[in-house]
């Protein structure tokens, strides 16, 4: 028992001494140690900055989902042979269902636009109804929005954004002027505001566009009568499941209970997809950044191997005065570990600072991710031991005779 404790404490004293000697060695070769540490530091900085920034972006996206997307669901309708979409009457009926405050159809057409000498093809014309302007009250900067009458009469009116204004109405007040959209003369009744952010649902469906017209007008341009995609607005986000059921029942009845005639997508499911995409991206970027950690590890290995060669005499002497191979090995391992850990800790600090700045610049929420810190520190510790192992082994296997012969 006494022998065991003697051994245990002896090992402990040896360990603390080794830490001291390692620190002395690291500070002795300041420049070399710094350059070696730099490799690990850059690696850890990159890992932490990337993971934290991506997680900041994903937090911001979730936030905007909750603020804008909650309480809406999109329905895409393929219909059946009898009716391959929804009529205006159907839209009114859906809007009248419980908990549903309104419905906006998503219709678009690719058109050419001309006025005088100016001509532009391949412009997306988006069809909206009057309810859209209730959900986006700031959408129009000047002029008027669409009203129910525009819908019913397929009115030849449109709203344009400032890009279109600059292109077709330079120096002219566009309101009241005409544009030729796919050879139809259409009157501009208002200008969209610059600040009107696209809603997330538009971003997802890719229907952002510089020109808006009543959806009935756009349908007519496309020679269609039916809407195949709508956004449904709900008064209570918690009622999402109920609405999904009643809406499903309505659509089932409409399409004779045939399979695969429609699909209801809630914002929750979109958000889930988005989240998994972002975490995949974060893993991918973290993986790329960790390559630099491995390169840093090779730097440590290189320095330790050089150090073993330089300290051959010292190692031989220590062995001659009674150091066991394992004691020499531990000392070199501690040195590699310390080098790596110093780099790791510096990398964590720098990484947090860098990601704070990045989040500031990108306007996303900055949160310190403990898992990223643990990952950075853990990784650098592992790198130190992994890449310090073989040089330490080399040192411990040096023959004391060969080492002392160099004296």
């Amino acid at each position: 028992m006494k022998r065991f404790f003697h051994k245990l404490f002896g090992g402990f004293y040896m360990f603390t001494e080794s830490v001291g000697m390692s620190i002395a060695n690291i500070t002795q070769n300041r420049l070399r140690s710094f350059l070696t540490i730099l490799g690990i530091m850059i690696g850890v900085t990159a890992v932490i900055a990337l993971i934290t920034t991506v997680s900041g972006v994903s937090t911001s996206i979730s936030d905007s989902f909750t603020s804008m997307g909650a309480g809406t669901m999109t329905v895409s309708v393929t219909g059946n042979d009898m009716q391959a979409g929804l009529t205006s009457a159907n839209l009114d009926e859906i809007a009248a269902l419980d908990h549903i405050t309104g419905v906006t159809p998503s219709v678009s057409a690719t058109v050419s636009v001309a006025r005088g000498d100016a001509y532009e093809s391949d412009i997306t014309l988006a069809g909206k109804n009057d309810y859209y302007f209730i959900t986006a009250p700031d959408a129009v900067a000047r002029g008027r929005t669409f009203n129910p009458l525009d819908m019913d009469t397929m009115a030849r009116v449109c709203l344009i954004d400032t890009d279109i204004v600059d292109e077709f109405f330079y120096g002219v007040d566009p309101v009241g002027q005409n544009l030729y959209i796919s050879n139809l003369s259409i009157t501009v009744v208002g200008v969209l505001s610059d600040t009107s952010d696209e809603s997330i649902s538009e971003m997802v469906s890719g229907s952002s566009s510089g020109i808006l017209a009543p959806y009935t007008t756009v349908l007519k341009l496309n020679n269609e009568t039916l809407v195949t995609s709508i956004t449904v607005y709900i008064d209570d986000a918690d009622a999402s499941d109920t609405v999904q059921t009643t809406l499903g029942a309505y659509l089932d009845a409409l399409f004779s209970y045939e399979d695969d005639t429609y699909e209801i997508t809630t914002m929750d499911s979109i958000q889930e997809t988005m989240d998994s995409m972002l975490s995949m991206m974060s893993a991918l970027l973290g993986g790329i950044a960790s390559i630099s950690l491995i390169v840093g590890g090779i730097g440590i290995m290189n320095m330790m191997l050089t150090s073993v060669t330089e300290r051959t005499v010292e190692i031989g002497l220590k062995k001659a005065i009674g150091a066991e191979p394992s004691q020499i090995q531990i000392q070199f391992l501690i040195e590699a570990f310390l080098l790596s850990m110093i780099g790791g800790v510096m990398g964590v600090v720098l990484g947090i600072a860098l990601s704070a700045i990045l989040c500031q610049v990108m306007g996303t929420t900055f949160t310190i991710s403990t898992s990223a810190i643990a990952l950075g520190v853990g990784f650098s510790a592992a790198v130190g031991i992994l890449f310090g192992w073989s040089p330490a082994r080399k040192a411990s296997n040096l023959s004391p005779i060969d080492a002392l012969r160099r004296m």
């Binding site: 404490f9 002497l317 001659a320 005065i321 066991e324």
Partner: protein
């Protein structure tokens, strides 16, 4: 490793061969040597005689190709690296030609070094190291670094380092080789004092004048050992 043999120091038919390329060179050709506790022995030989190889084997840095070597009751022949290190730690105090102090450490830490590997407690370590430095006459140089010490003082630190583990055997390889005559003879006086205190000393040298400080001299020539006449005028 118990004291299996009731023998202090015995070498029988020690042969050491080295592979030099295609050829095999026999450096030690059957060395037999007995030493008793408290002896002061010189191994005298020219360079290339095999005396360094013999020192390595005596000091448990190397193992013989064949033959039997018992040090303080332990049979050295079939020990592994780790056990050899433990024997060195316990039984052998090395003094090299160049003192080989670690340049970053002060005298005290250099002397403490063998005790660190032996697992001695810090306070005990400091006490014993200081005691040894006082003993070799460096009481006022305890916290000097090697570059602040003269060659003779460095060699005294090395002697203190060799003594600090209370080894069975002090093994000195040309201990005065790098010193001027005056300093060298001071070191020799110190060796004599240590021997008078009961330390067993083996000194390897090529210098007859140095060798004569020992009570007993053996010659090594071409890998073979011959006893020289008793030296009475130490």
């Amino acid at each position: 490793m118990s004291n299996d043999y009731e023998v202090f120091f015995r070498m029988r038919d020690i042969i050491k061969k080295y592979q030099l390329g295609e050829e095999e060179a026999t450096i030690l050709k059957g060395i037999c040597l007995d030493i008793e506790e408290g002896e002061y022995l010189s191994v005298l030989g020219p360079s290339g005689s095999g005396k360094s190889t013999l020192m390595n084997i005596i000091g448990c840095l190397d193992k013989p190709t064949s033959g039997e070597y018992i040090l303080h009751g332990s049979l050295i022949d079939d020990l592994d690296e780790k056990e050899l290190a433990q024997i060195r730690s316990r039984e052998v105090g090395f003094i090299f030609q160049n003192s080989q102090m670690l340049p970053k450490l002060d005298a005290m830490k250099n002397v403490e070094l063998p005790l660190i590997y032996a697992g001695v407690r810090p306070r005990e370590r400091a006490r014993r190291a200081e005691e040894m430095l006082v003993k070799v006459g460096l009481a006022d140089r305890i916290h000097h670094k090697p570059n602040m010490l003269s060659g003779g003082q460095q060699q005294r630190v090395a002697i203190a380092r060799a003594l600090v583990t209370r080894p069975t055997l002090l093994l000195a390889d040309e201990p005065t080789g790098a010193l001027d005559q005056h300093t060298g003879s001071q070191i020799m006086d110190l060796f004599q004092e240590l021997n008078d205190d009961g330390h067993t000393i083996i000194m390897i040298t090529h210098d007859l004048k140095v060798a004569r400080h020992a009570r007993r001299v053996v010659n090594i020539i071409d890998g073979e050992l011959t006893e020289a006449e008793e030296v009475t005028f130490a």
